[in-house]
Symmetry: C2
Subunit: 697 residues, 2 copies
């Protein structure tokens, strides 16, 4: 990519950001747009109360008061208002900002001067300096074998140590927050409940009896009650459909009103229903509730049966978080679904390489001219070539990346998870690896799918391949940061699609009061932030100029996501900070990738003993990671005996406990009887955060 | 290796086996050798009772009655007499015998005729047929692109399916045996006890109080008692040593007798001992006992503390199985020990390549002549060259392999395990991978350590490299089977080292009654059998002639190890069949290795679509393995709620339970006060197996 192309891209995206900010600060104050820009406040009845009756000129002037409002709440307020997951999300941004402030300081004030003092690029006549002026600031300009490479090595060591320290303290902080959050929560049904699946049923018995027998026998002291999961009977559904068709044909006049298929069926089957309701059938799964949290945890963590594929236990999700389709699945079916999903992901990854190669084709204008000679005249126009090489590739990439999170969520939902939070967490994983593979590796190595595979199979060659390719793509990734970072985040603020949607729908749905409050798409936004982190680590010592762009992105993201958490999104579930281990792992991956690239670069640049001087880095980092897995990960898998027992003891004195325990089983309604959606109202500690509710600004 | 060399090796080893059998059948009947050949019976007082008073001529005649005796007992009798681990060990041999009977049948009666009908080797003039006549029976002789390769492919598929079926049924059988064994066992201290380590102690408190507080608070209903682990105080030991030195110098006449250092110290410190015994100090670990097995299992499986590195729980070993040195270790120290051991293993593996290359040098006589021209005259003698190429290499290999299991056990003992059974299991793992790497890969690829590494890093090339090298080493591995299989196993029967030891010691230890009953070295013998299995899988479709030799080995091993289990070895611990998962995993590895070699061979032999036709094999096998891990592995990690609760209920009615519970804490004696070895007598169900106790034959 040529430098002028990069400048064009930065200008376009900067302008777009300003436009989005300007429009947002005006449009958000129009009561007609509350549904788009403050649905959460509307749903909670706060904005409605304060809706202005008179027109003020103020409403048409852009201002920045929303930034102050978004900045203002403390972390405790955010925790109380949006839950721990929102806090963890904001901490990802803060963590990244901290890391890249330090890395950026070293990069800009130490490494850039060192890079500029070299003259490797002037010595090589094959480099076209006019097109690659940015390379002067990068490590490419340092002379081979120069002693100043030790400064780069020192910077890599320093940043690794700083990041590990920050990762450790952050993991510790979030673990303690998770435990505090649990300790301060009111009794909630899912804390007392587990989901048991693959229940064996002996002949002549049914699922309910089987569960009752097993748990009264083996968990005598703690077992409370159970709800067997049901599904619509397939046989009944088919039979009923056939019956209706016959009825229509033969006695079409005798059916006066068209009832709902379900109700109709139930009425028609009333003779049978007296004996047994045939419209639904038992599934070999049940929600089993216990008298204490500790009792539920014991049943969850212990192997129940001598056949480990039977009586499988899982933590019950929050009632509003349940995802029903996979309750009927056997152990085998869930396992096979998982395999199929993994294969589909691999297939999707390969298919997605097509837009990546289109993008890489565009950044190399010469290649494009060779393929389409007819375009030669247009391509020689300076502004066109700048837009094509600078802005267009990232726009295409952005558009294609938009569809990845929904696809991954769809795939994850087929994987056998029983709650939305698990689905989103799994989708989050998938999107991260997809992005790393298809945006980073595919762009950097510019190789075909099979080429990429063969590169990765030749493990030895990876560092040197990366050493050559990564610095060459620096300006492409700066453009990526401004397009997918700046503009995409600003458009999140402006909510382009919902806004256009509301404009179109307005004439049809006048004064309707249904406000749909969206939930935050963690699986879409966490991978984005983590990928920018990966870019930062990969480039901070190669081409430090990318860091300021990243810092602007993190600052923007901080303020915009805070704003959206307060006004737009309501939490649909509370995973209790379970997203953090994903963040930790992917940061460790980025660090190790940085070490690999460093090894490749130092070897290429002829630093003495590149292997010995860099190999402690990944070894130390992986050992650190292993320690963190042992030290913190178990906390995110389940709560400790200590905590559970304390919480149970505290509960015993609560006057509402006996009533609460009788109500637990009602929380997990039978989906076959009540297959409607569940309200997104949360049972937790949430209360409206009045100080930030000033929509008027 | 030349064929005549192979024949020499087979003859030598066959002769050795016959000699060992002959000697054994005579020597075992001499009462003076009972200590060597029937120490277990001696220790149990059975052989002594039946010791003949009169000399019979019969005692000098060799016979085979011991074979009948070893064959006779049923599996139930072996289980009752030698425990589940012995049964599992015998089942490894039975399993291997079954598999290779089927594979051998296919190999000899289907594949060998197909191989002989080819004429690939006649077409290639560079192969010296006189030296490689065995190759005519191998796949090397099948014509490239021949349709008969499909028969080989079919054989690989068939054997894979048969092995998976057998593995599944064996895993199922052993799981059920494990559960039955547990259900039929009497109450034993380790079933009610866990080991808690890394106990945090607040200031002014001690470990005992800390444990007492924690468990009375969090396991109120089930907590029974605890024993804090102690060690000799280092400060005290040093101070005491100094004191003694001073005493000797200044008041040498006032110390009349030389007492044991420990006792002495205690007496000298009697003033202090009234307040507190300074000779020993508390370690932050304790054996915590519970009123029920289920209570102990809950404490074991649940996370105890909000800091997962504190209050770490492990299943307590059987009292006689405890390995004390690592009780004092912190979480961090055990973790670092583990890392150091892994590095040492890697180092040992590399060092051990030296004898392997010597061995490979010997098998290639031409190479040897080039290095030592002076030996040319001797080497041209036919018998010398046959011994050198056929027998010597495997003898050297055997000698060097002898030292590996003890070294690996030593390494494992430094890894932080708290019981001998874990140490042996870990050593077993290490020896397997060591053998696979250093005997199979190093011999097959005949490459240097770094050469091997670079081969393994170029993942794509492995199958074709193996395809070329593996068939070439067929006769070497036949020689390996006869040397390390036949002779080594026969010498196990004859017990060469203990026999010579007893001959030497006899004059000095006349009529002493101490009989040391050895325990079975699982970590030495399981890897050996598994490695022969690997050879069988690797060669059954390449050079089926190896299979009959293997079958003879398994038959020998079955009868000899049974004999030794009954007369020689007494179980030192009972892991409850925990060795089987190792067997399962390594068989799966052997299968996948076979598939890799098959892919390489079929590609080299120009079978159409080698990748498509072979890739389902490893995929299916690994999926099968994954299923088995889910279906059976949890059973070997801990017992289910179902089983534990049933067992606890059964115990409640036992009259001896209250007394048993009071005695549990006494079982785990304090090692600092009683650092003697524990008796090898087992608390389990063992009772003398009278029918097999006929030493007289």
């Amino acid at each position: 990519m040529i430098v002028s192309g990069l400048l064009t891209s930065v200008s376009i995206n900067f302008a777009l950001c300003i436009i989005f900010f300007f429009l947002y600060s005006i449009l958000r104050k129009q009561p007609g747009n509350y549904k788009v820009y403050a649905p959460r406040l509307l749903a909670e009845g706060i904005a409605r109360v304060r809706r202005p009756n008179h027109f003020h000129l103020n409403r048409l002037l852009p201002n920045t008061s929303w930034i102050r409002n978004a900045w203002h709440p403390t972390e405790e307020q955010l925790l109380a208002y949006s839950g721990l997951d929102a806090v963890v999300f904001m901490r990802i941004i803060i963590f990244s900002f901290k890391v890249f402030t330090i890395a950026g300081f070293i990069g800009i004030f130490i490494l850039v001067p060192v890079n500029c003092s070299g003259n490797q690029l002037q010595d090589m006549d094959f480099v076209n300096l006019t097109n690659n002026t940015l390379d002067v600031f990068s490590i490419s300009n340092v002379n081979n074998g120069s002693t100043s490479l030790w400064i780069h090595l020192g910077a890599v060591y320093f940043v690794t140590i700083v990041v590990c320290y920050l990762l450790f303290s952050e993991y510790k902080y979030i673990s303690s927050k998770r435990i505090d959050y649990f300790c301060s929560s009111k009794p909630q049904p899912h804390q007392f409940t587990i989901l048991v699946s693959n229940i064996p049923v002996s002949k002549g018995s049914n699922v309910g009896n089987s569960v009752e027998n097993f748990f009264t026998q083996n968990h005598t002291a703690t077992y409370l009650s159970h709800v067997v999961v049901h599904r619509k009977s397939k046989v009944w559904t088919v039979a009923n459909a056939l019956k209706k068709v016959f009825k229509k044909i033969f006695k079409s006049r005798k059916v006066p009103t068209q009832q709902s298929s379900m109700h109709d069926g139930l009425l028609e089957n009333s003779k049978v229903k007296v004996k047994k309701d045939k419209s639904r059938e038992e599934v070999r799964a049940a929600f089993v509730s216990f008298k204490s949290r500790y009792g539920a945890a014991i049943a969850l963590h212990m192997l129940q049966s001598n056949n480990p594929t039977q009586w499988r236990t899982e933590q019950a999700p929050e009632p509003q978080d349940v995802y029903w389709p996979f309750f009927s699945s056997t152990f085998m079916r869930r396992w096979i679904s998982r395999l199929v999903v993994i294969i589909s992901c691999a297939f999707l990854t390969i298919v997605f390489l097509i837009p990546v190669f289109v993008v890489q084709g565009l950044t190399n204008l010469a290649q494009l001219e060779a393929y389409f000679p007819a375009l030669k005249f247009i391509l020689t126009m300076s502004i066109v070539s700048q837009v094509i090489t600078g802005y267009l590739p990232n726009l295409i990439l952005q558009m294609s990346l938009k569809i990845v999170p929904p696809i991954m969520k769809l795939l994850s939902s087929q994987q056998g998870y029983i709650c939305n939070s698990d689905i989103e967490r799994s989708a989050c994983h998938k999107v991260i690896w997809f992005t790393v593979w298809n945006v980073f590796f595919a762009n950097v190595l510019s190789a075909s799918a099979f080429g990429l595979l063969s590169i990765l199979l030749e493990f030895k060659e990876i560092p040197s391949k990366l050493a050559v390719s990564v610095p060459a793509q620096a300006s492409f990734f700066i453009a990526y940061v401004v397009t997918l970072g700046w503009t995409s985040t600003s458009s999140e603020l402006f909510r382009v699609v919902p806004f256009i949607g509301s404009l179109i729908c307005k004439p049809f749905t006048r004064n309707s009061d249904n406000v749909t409050v969206p939930s935050f798409p963690y699986h879409k936004d966490i991978p984005k932030i983590l990928f920018f982190g990966l870019l930062g680590f990969a480039y901070f010592f190669l081409a430090p100029l990318i860091i300021p762009f990243l810092l602007v992105y993190f600052a923007l993201a901080y303020i915009i996501y805070r704003n959206q958490m307060l006004y737009v999104y309501a939490p649909k579930y509370e995973s209790g900070g379970k997203f953090w281990p994903i963040v930790h792992d992917s940061t460790i991956f980025s660090l190790v990738l940085m070490h690999f690239i460093a090894f490749g670069i130092f070897k290429m640049k002829k630093l003495p003993y590149p292997f010995i001087s860099t190999s402690p880095l990944p070894i130390f980092t992986l050992l650190f990671n292993e320690y963190c897995r042992k030290r913190f990960l178990p906390i995110f898998m389940g709560y400790s005996t200590e905590t559970l027992q304390r919480k149970d003891r505290e509960d015993q004195i609560l006057p509402e406990m006996p009533y609460f325990l009788t109500q637990i089983s009602a929380a997990y309604q039978d989906p076959a009887l009540a297959p409607t959606t569940y309200s997104s109202h949360h049972n937790g500690l949430r209360e409206p955060l009045i100080p930030v509710a000033e929509v008027q600004g």
